[in-house]
C-alpha cells in the first residue's frame, strides 16, 4: 500500500487518514482493520474479536497496541472500536495531528453569523462618510468570521487527503468505515469477511451529512462512509453537528479538531 503524502512531505498512515476523514471512531476502526489485515486478530460470526496468539507481534501504532492489550480476553467488535476511540492513545494521535497542523479546534457556526457580516458591511460603507465607524466595521467583520465557524480539518489536512483512494482494504476502512461501501457497491466489511450483522454493531452513519464546500479528495471519501460515525460511544460524539464530508471529521470524541 502506498501511503499518501501530506503537504509536509511526510507519509500519512491509514489510521491518521481515518482520523482526518471521520474522527477517532474511524481511526479506531482503521487500527482494527490493520490488525485484521495483518492476521493479528480475528472476528467471529457473532462479532467477538480475539487476539491471535503468536509470539511476534506486528503492531505498528500505539492504538493497535492498545487494542491488542485489551484483547487478552475476547471483546465485542463495537466495544473494541469504542474503547480505542476513547483511549489516551487516540488523544495522543489527535495531538500529533494538531501539531502537524492537519487538524484544529473546530468552532460551531452560529445561525446568526450573517447578521454580524451585514452590520460589518454596512459600517464599512458608512466609513467613507463617517470614518470612525471603521472601527465598528472591523469588530463586526471579525465577529462574523468567528461565528462563521471552522471545520476541524485544516487546509493541510484536506491536502493530505487529496488523492487518497481505497486502494486496499485498510484504506477502504479509513475512508469509508466498516459500514461503508467501496465504489458504492462493495461492502467494506465483506473485504474482511465480516457479516453485516457484525459491522452493524457499529453506530449507523448519518443519513444526511452536511456538505459544505468542495472537499476534493475528502468528498470522494464520503461516498458511503463519511459521517459514519463510528465515533464510538453509542453515537454520542460526533459532536459538532457540522460535520461534514467536506472537511472531513467532525467526529469529536477526542476533541475533534
Amino acid at each position: 500500500m502506498a501511503a499518501p503524502t501530506a503537504a509536509t512531505g511526510t507519509r500519512v498512515p491509514p489510521e491518521q487518514i481515518g482520523y482526518l476523514v471521520a474522527g477517532p471512531g474511524r481511526a479506531a476502526e482503521t487500527a482494527l482493520a490493520r490488525l485484521l489485515d495483518a492476521g493479528l486478530v480475528r472476528v467471529s460470526r457473532d462479532g467477538l474479536v480475539s487476539a491471535v496468539h503468536q509470539t511476534e507481534l506486528g503492531v505498528s501504532t500505539a492504538v493497535e497496541t492498545l487494542i491488542l492489550i485489551n484483547l487478552r480476553r475476547p471483546a465485542r467488535f463495537d466495544a473494541v472500536v469504542r474503547n480505542a476511540a476513547k483511549s489516551t492513545e487516540m488523544r495522543t494521535l489527535h495531538q500529533q495531528l494538531r501539531a502537524r497542523r492537519l487538524t484544529r479546534d473546530p468552532r460551531p457556526r452560529l445561525a446568526a453569523w450573517w447578521v454580524f457580516l451585514a452590520i460589518g458591511v454596512v459600517l464599512s460603507l458608512t466609513a467613507f462618510l463617517k470614518p470612525w465607524t471603521l472601527l465598528g466595521a472591523v469588530g463586526f467583520l471579525g465577529a462574523a468570521y468567528w461565528t462563521f465557524g471552522a471545520k476541524p480539518l485544516t487546509r493541510s489536512g484536506r491536502t493530505a487527503l487529496k488523492g487518497v483512494t481505497a486502494s486496499d482494504r485498510v484504506l477502504a476502512v479509513a475512508l469509508e468505515g466498516f459500514r461503508g461501501k467501496v465504489d458504492r457497491q462493495q461492502n467494506v466489511g465483506d473485504l474482511f469477511g465480516l457479516s453485516q450483522s457484525v459491522v452493524k454493531m457499529l453506530p449507523r452513519k448519518r443519513k444526511k451529512p452536511v456538505r459544505r464546500g468542495g472537499g476534493g479528495a475528502s468528498d470522494a471519501s464520503c461516498g458511503g462512509g463519511c459521517g459514519s460515525s463510528s465515533c464510538g460511544s453509542s453515537g454520542s460524539s460526533c459532536s459538532s453537528g457540522s460535520s461534514s464530508c467536506g472537511g472531513g471529521s467532525s467526529c469529536g470524541g477526542g476533541g475533534g479538531d
Partner: protein, 272 residues
C-alpha cells in the same frame, strides 16, 4: 459402528474461531461442546458446516459419569437432543467426575481405579446409554493425581468398562502424554490394554510444562511428543478420526492448518 467410519481429521469447533474452522482446508469433521449449544438455536456456523456435509459430533463435559451422585438426566437428555439436532452418529464424555456432595470441581477429576468405582461408573454409563439416541464414547482424562489403592491400570479399567457397557473409546493422546509425564503412566501399555477395535476417534491437543507439571492446556502448540503417541496408536490401528482440540490462545489460521497437516501426516503415514 455405522456412519462413524472414516471421519478423517477434524477440529474442535469453538465460537471464537468459527470463521477459521469454516475456511480451513481439510477439516473433515468437527466436535462441539454440547453444553455450549442451545437446541433450536444452533450457531450459524455449525448450521453452515452441516449444510456442507461436515459431521458434527457433540462432546459433553458435565455428565460426571464417574461420580457417586445420581446422573443428571437433564444433562443426558440435552446431550441427546444436541446429537439429534446435528444428526450426529455418536456422542462422547469423559471417564471422570465433576461433581460431588453438591460441589462442582471445575475440572475433569479422575476416577479411582477400583472395582467399586468401576461398578458405579458402569451403572451410570448404562443409565446414560439408555437415555441417549446414539452410541456413547468415553474419553480418558489427564490426571494430576492417582487415587490410592488402585486395583487396575488405566488401560485395564477402560477395557473392563467397554466390556461391561459396550461403550466406545475416545482416546486422547495428549492426555496419555500428560499422564506419562505427571504420574508415570506408560502410553504403550495403555494402548496394549484397551480394545482398539472399539476406538471411536482420537483427540490431540497442546500443553505446556509448568515446573514439574505438564498441563494439558489446549492453549498451546501440540508437542512433537504428543504426535509420537499418536504415531504409536496409528501403528496399531487406523483410527476412524483424529481431532485437534484448541480452547484458548488461538493461533493464526496458518498455524492451526499446520497442526492439522501434521496430524494428517501421522495418520497417512500408516495408511500408505
Amino acid at each position: 459402528m455405522a456412519g462413524i467410519k472414516d471421519l478423517g481429521v477434524g477440529i474442535g469447533w469453538r465460537s471464537e474461531i468459527d470463521l477459521t474452522v469454516e475456511r480451513l482446508p481439510g477439516v473433515d469433521f468437527v466436535e462441539v461442546v454440547a453444553e455450549n449449544l442451545h437446541i433450536g438455536h444452533l450457531p450459524e456456523s455449525v448450521t453452515l458446516l452441516l449444510e456442507r456435509g461436515v459431521p458434527v459430533l457433540p462432546h459433553a463435559v458435565s455428565l460426571s459419569l464417574g461420580g457417586a451422585d445420581e446422573v443428571d438426566l437433564h444433562r443426558v437428555e440435552h446431550l441427546g437432543a444436541v446429537a439429534e439436532a446435528v444428526g450426529a452418529p455418536m456422542v462422547s464424555d469423559h471417564v471422570c467426575f465433576v461433581r460431588a456432595g453438591g460441589l462442582d470441581s471445575g475440572h475433569l477429576m479422575p476416577v479411582p481405579r477400583t472395582k467399586d468405582a468401576l461398578d458405579v461408573l458402569v451403572a451410570n454409563v448404562k443409565l446414560a446409554q439408555r437415555n441417549l439416541p446414539v452410541p456413547l464414547a468415553l474419553e480418558n482424562v489427564a490426571a494430576l493425581l492417582e487415587w490410592p489403592d488402585g486395583e487396575l491400570s488405566e488401560g485395564q479399567f477402560l477395557a473392563e468398562l467397554v466390556e461391561r457397557t459396550d461403550c466406545w473409546l475416545l482416546v486422547d493422546v495428549a492426555n496419555l502424554y500428560a499422564n506419562a509425564r505427571n504420574i508415570g503412566t506408560d502410553p504403550e501399555r495403555f494402548l496394549d490394554e484397551i480394545p482398539l477395535e472399539r476406538l471411536a476417534y482420537v483427540h490431540v491437543a497442546g500443553g505446556e510444562q509448568h515446573g514439574d507439571i505438564y498441563h494439558d492446556t489446549h492453549a498451546h502448540a501440540v508437542l512433537p511428543e504428543v504426535l509420537d503417541v499418536l504415531d504409536e496408536l496409528c501403528s496399531r490401528v487406523a483410527p476412524p478420526g483424529v481431532l485437534l482440540e484448541r480452547d484458548d490462545n488461538y493461533p493464526s489460521d496458518t498455524e492451526i492448518a499446520s497442526e492439522l497437516a501434521a496430524i494428517r501426516a501421522v495418520v497417512d503415514k500408516h495408511r500408505g
